[in-house]
Amino acid sequence: VADKLGENPQRMHDPETGTIVGEQSADGKAGWRADHGHFNWWDWTAGKKGKGGRYGHDYYPEDQTGPHSKYPGDFPWGAP
């Protein structure tokens, strides 16, 4: 996914630690985001589901969750 983010990716930061908890391309078609207990990634640059697109959710123990996106919309996507 990292090579699909383009020159001006948007980033999501945890404001308490300044840690980057997500990145996405300007059009949102490729990116990743750390959520509570899992890590999401997506690459829809080649097409959507079943048509070349790829995505996934990698799970880990919730007590091992570090800085993450919290609830949807808590932290905004923005400039790097």
Binding site: A26, G28, H38, K49, G56, S69, P72, A79
Partner: protein, 143 residues
């Protein structure tokens, strides 16, 4: 906000058409978000009910099957609904039928949650980034 606003606007323009939706952003978005989190147990909401009437994992389904599942929900398809993309803090008002028809271009699994409701705020469709569908209906508790 500007970057993600453009992202969702571009999607809407591409798959719905410029004149066929009304953007919901800024204070209007915040008002709708606050209202929905006060009525339904969406992520981050302070309320714990009502329980969903329908709750399904659609992650092994093709998008066409998810679209058909949405068509089957007991809500009027000609209703004008508000769709929120909470990760992007923006929404749009348009006919539910258009949302369903254009779902593949409006919702990106892995990235997006979408919340859909109408002006009555008695029901809510939630499709999350892990492809879980939840349908909430407050109609029975209100009657």
């Amino acid at each position: 906000m500007g970057c993600t606003l453009s992202k969702i606007k571009n999607r809407l323009a591409d798959v719905v058409g410029e004149a066929r939706y009304e953007l919901v952003d800024g204070d209007r978005y915040a008002e709708e978000y606050t209202r929905l989190t006060s009525l339904f147990p969406v992520p981050g909401a302070p309320v714990r009910g009502p329980d969903p009437v329908i709750e399904e994992d659609l992650s092994d389904k093709p998008t066409a099957a998810i679209v058909e599942r949405l068509r089957s929900l007991p809500v009027p398809k000609d209703a004008v609904v508000t769709v929120l993309w909470p990760y992007d803090r923006v929404g749009a008002k348009l006919e539910l039928q258009r949302v369903i028809d254009a779902l593949d271009g409006l919702w990106y699994p892995g990235a997006d949650d979408v919340w859909i409701t109408d002006s009555s705020h008695t029901w809510l469709i939630l499709i999350d980034h892990e492809e879980h569908l939840a349908f909430y209906d407050r109609g029975s508790e209100l009657s």
